[in-house]
């Protein structure tokens, strides 16, 4: 393996700082640097995603998409970002001001924390728990709290209906996400993000676990779309029914936070799918083809991870721009009557496959 390991850089930097200052100061500086770096990546990725989705959906709809600001419209998202930053935060009467202000931060904090655990590349990871995947699912479900609060505190009937829908939807679909993740954890025998990635060095889990893994992936991608509140599961903000659902009353950067979180959740869902099914930052390896594998190794691991996630996102974006929206009772019936039982059976199937060693 001749892929560059990022831990060399980080260890070198750590030693350099430790050489000139006390340990506590090193920790503080490193935390700050990591935080700033993350925020930067987070914001840039969101901007990229906005551009990416607009271009993709333009292509689906026989349009060009943004093409005026900058070459190929590349600066459009930046212009939009500056616009939203300088927009007024409209004060609203008769609302719970504290909760109203808190809600967008809860949403963004949850997505941000989940974002931080993703394995970006070889050695490029902020923290490596032994319960990494579990942590990811746990923090990403905090987001629903923010959405419920936003809907409740706005003191508006549309937002309330949107929030209640969202609550029902996210709690339901989290089950499916959790179970499909469990299926892969069963196959891998670990919850640690690093070990999950390393387990796929020679073959990705979706191939290792063949049938149950493919089923788990399909369920995951459906439930993940629902979890991010994107079409065809965008009922909480169903534009034609509830104007904008739970964030109807938000303006300026507070609305921007919801928007940002939605796009980043799209990346996180695709990132987790990459991690669980498509080898994380591992290059594509075909057992037996040494030459091919060596060429693949030359592509940096960060590119592998981000690239795979972006391609998976395209699928989710494709869903949104093709399908009509479901109705709330259909949505819940789909989860509880079909996805969940199917998922449980699939888990047992995976158990059998692992117990008898039928996987590759």
């Amino acid at each position: 393996m001749n892929t560059f390991d990022f831990s060399i850089v980080t260890t070198w930097f750590d030693n350099l700082l430790n050489g000139v200052m006390p340990l506590w100061l090193t920790t503080v500086i490193e935390c700050l640097l990591i935080g700033v770096g993350l925020i930067l990546v987070y914001a840039l990725l969101a901007l990229f995603y906005i551009y990416y989705e607009r271009k993709l959906c333009g292509a689906f709809q026989c349009r060009l998409g943004p093409n005026r600001v900058g070459p190929f419209g590349l600066l459009q998202s930046f212009a939009d970002m500056f616009k939203i930053l300088i927009k007024e935060l409209i004060p609203i009467n008769n609302i719970d001001k504290f909760l109203f202000g808190l809600a967008p931060y809860l949403v963004i904090a949850s997505s941000f924390t989940a974002f931080a655990v993703l394995p970006w590349g070889r050695g490029l990871q902020i923290i490596d728990f032994n319960i990494g995947v579990f942590f990811l699912i746990a923090v990403s479900s905090i987001g629903v709290l923010g959405i419920l609060l936003a809907g409740w505190s706005s003191n508006n009937k549309f937002t309330l209906i949107g929030a209640l829908r969202s609550g029902a939807q996210m709690v339901s679909y989290e089950l499916s996400i959790g179970l499909s993740v469990m299926t892969i954890v069963l196959l891998a025998g670990t919850m640690s993000v690093t070990e999950l990635v390393e387990g796929q060095e020679h073959l990705w889990y979706i191939f290792q676990g063949h049938i149950p893994a493919i089923i788990a992936f399909l369920i995951y991608i459906v439930a993940g779309t629902a979890e991010t509140n994107r079409g065809p599961f965008d009922l909480p903000e169903a534009e034609s029914e509830l104007t904008a659902g739970y964030h109807t009353e938000y303006s300026g950067i507070h609305f921007g936070y919801f928007y940002l979180a939605e796009y980043l959740n799209l990346f996180i869902v695709s990132g987790v799918a990459t991690l669980l099914f498509f080898g994380g930052w591992m290059p594509l390896h075909i057992p037996g083809c040494e030459g091919f594998n060596n060429v693949m190794d030359y592509i940096p691991s960060v590119v592998w991870f981000v690239g795979k996630a972006i391609i998976l996102s395209a699928v989710i974006i494709w869903f949104k721009w093709t399908f009509p929206r479901l109705r709330i009772d259909q949505l819940l019936a789909f989860e509880w009557k079909y996805l969940l039982p199917f998922n449980l059976v699939n888990l047992v199937l995976m158990l059998i496959v692992v117990a008898f060693g039928w996987h590759f």
């Binding site: 209906i161 009922l235 169903a238 534009e239 029914e241 399908f323 009509p324 109705r327 009772d329 259909q330």
Partner: protein, 539 residues
């Protein structure tokens, strides 16, 4: 005529029969309800229009009724001489659509309808002073200034109940109880297709009742027409149902031509029909797009718009406008067709079938789409007739109500096309009917495009158009249903009264009936499948 004399004469010996283009009877108010009931039972079960009018010495309504199966027509005038407290008997128990139509008459003429369940203002604000379509209405702006405060929603309505002894008692009616969870869908809402407001009482996600509030963009076109000459009136007809602009103009011109006894040249007839069918396709394409967008499938909108654009280009070349055409004139059309017209229509006919196939692949077969539409918003044939839901929405309930077939006008009688009737009664069929009507309109265009006769495109109409005294009613099949125009003339160069009778009011009026007990999302599905256009409601 004899038949009608018999039916009416049996229950009301005092009825007076007058000669008119349609069988016309004048009936005193006390017998009116009985007459209406007898007419309904003898097959005149479709209430086409309720025309309120102030004749000066008396005020009242002309009711146009026809048979839902063969299109036989009858009109009945009911009037009262009392201007202080005018009252007529309501027929809202016989025809559900009369509920809104009579409220409109109350709003504009102040005629109270006895036994009507909900006698509130409909278009105007609760605090409006006077009744604007009365001839003695004071137009002084100081009486009704532009009020800058919110109109208080009135949850208490009144009804005038007739006692057994004939006396009338006023009773209060609660529209919504104070504890109900009422959500405003509209007036500013993406799915109402304009400024229409549904006050929706909810139980969780379930709809309990809907109160329709209209009038946010009411422009008083009927009142404006009373002061303008006939050619000046035409352009208002573009601005009602703006997707059926050409049909609406066509209807008004036909009504005037009928009154004048003017023969329209064949070339003009063919051009008019081709324009009508082109705009029908354009309208149904936009329906397809916006309906899918309402359901969350945004991409389909752009597919529909793409083809609609081709039609608008064709229309623009000939008419000079893309939306408000002002193309029909009394006697024919304003300009001859553009030299490119025939070629471009042929090109369009050639590409359209493949595009329709594309729509069906993208949308119609989709499981989510089917699940959202099938069995949602069931409207039985009986209810469709009672609510007056004509047009594609009525035909999806198994009611063959196409005016082009029922009472053929212009050259439709000679054309070979099928009336699309389906009997699923749900939103899915309402959608499919429209998609199939596109195919039928293409058939009509195919027949005509090579057969546009030479000759004048406009008959010689008098310079100053004065209609003889009398009243006329003309209907056409617009994109969303029947569109009717009533003109009353006293022999002047301006009409005495114009009544515009679109179907959209009825389409919006039936929403309450068929959404009860379904989800909010279904309100969007049902409202979208009705395809109402708000300017046609707020005339």
């Amino acid at each position: 005529m004899a038949d009608i004399k018999e039916i009416i004469g049996k229950v009301c010996p005092d009825a007076i029969f007058e000669e008119n283009e349609k069988p016309f009877a004048v009936v005193p108010d006390r017998d009116w309800h009985k007459v209406a009931e007898a007419l309904k039972q003898s097959g005149y079960d479709w209430l086409n229009a309720v025309v309120g009018e102030d004749w000066g010495d008396e005020m009242g309504c002309i009711y146009y009724m026809s048979s839902s199966s063969d299109g036989a027509e009858v009109s009945v005038k009911v009037a009262t001489a009392d201007r202080e407290n005018p009252m007529l008997h309501s027929v809202s128990d016989l025809w559900d659509c009369a509920r809104l139509e009579e409220r409109e008459v109350f709003d504009f003429f102040g005629i109270k309808f006895i036994n009507h369940p909900d006698m509130r203002r409909f278009y105007l604000r609760n605090d409006w002073v006077g009744y604007p379509l009365r001839k003695d209405y004071d137009e002084n702006p100081d009486i009704n200034p532009v009020r800058l405060y919110h109109e208080q929603p009135d949850d208490v309505s009144v009804t005038y109940k007739e006692e057994a002894d004939g006396s009338v008692k006023e009773e209060k009616v609660q529209v919504f109880a104070p504890e109900e969870f009422v959500v405003n869908i509209g007036p500013q809402h993406p799915a109402t297709h304009g400024v229409l407001r549904f006050r929706t009482s909810l139980n969780g996600e379930e709809i309990k009742k809907i109160d329709l509030v209209c009038g946010y963009i009411h422009r008083g076109i009927e009142k404006l027409c009373e002061k303008l000459t006939y050619p000046q009136c035409i352009h208002f007809f573009d601005r009602q149902d703006y997707f059926s602009a050409l049909m609406n103009e066509h209807c008004f011109c036909m009504c005037v031509e009928k009154a004048l006894g003017l023969e329209v040249p064949r070339r003009a007839q063919v051009i008019r029909v081709m324009m009508d069918e082109l705009s029908r396709i354009a309208s149904h394409l936009l329906f397809f797009g916006t309906y899918c967008m309402d359901l969350g499938a945004t991409t389909a909108l752009f597919y529909g718009i793409r083809e609609r654009e081709t039609i608008l280009d064709i229309l623009e070349e000939t008419c000079g406008a893309r939306m408000t055409f002002n193309y029909n004139v009394v006697g024919g059309v304003r300009e001859d067709i553009h030299p490119n017209f025939v070629k471009r229509v042929k090109d369009f006919i050639a590409i359209m079938p493949s595009r329709l196939k594309e729509y069906h692949t993208l949308v119609t077969g989709n499981v989510i789409f089917k699940n959202r539409l099938k069995g949602v918003g069931i409207l039985s044939r009986k209810d469709a007739i009672s609510y007056g839901v004509a047009g594609p929405s009525g035909r999806a309930s198994g009611w063959a109500c196409d005016v082009r077939k029922l009472k053929p006008y212009s050259i439709y009688g000679e054309l070979d096309f099928d009336e699309v009737v389906m009997d699923g009664c749900d939103s899915f069929d309402r959608y499919l009917v429209r998609m199939k009507e596109i195919e039928q309109s293409l058939r009509i265009l195919e027949q005509l495009v090579d057969n546009i006769p030479d000759g004048d495109y406009c008959a010689k109409a008098p310079k100053i158009i004065k209609l003889p005294a009398g009243h006329w009613f003309q209907e056409v099949e617009a994109c969303r249903g029947v569109f009717g125009v009533y003109i009353d003339s006293k022999g002047d160069k301006t009409p005495y009264r114009v009544k515009i009778n679109g179907t959209c009011l009825r389409l919006a009026g039936v929403v309450d009936h068929i959404t009860r007990g379904s989800k909010i999302a279904d309100l969007i599905t049902i409202g979208g499948s009705m395809d109402y256009v708000v300017p046609d409601i707020d005339r």
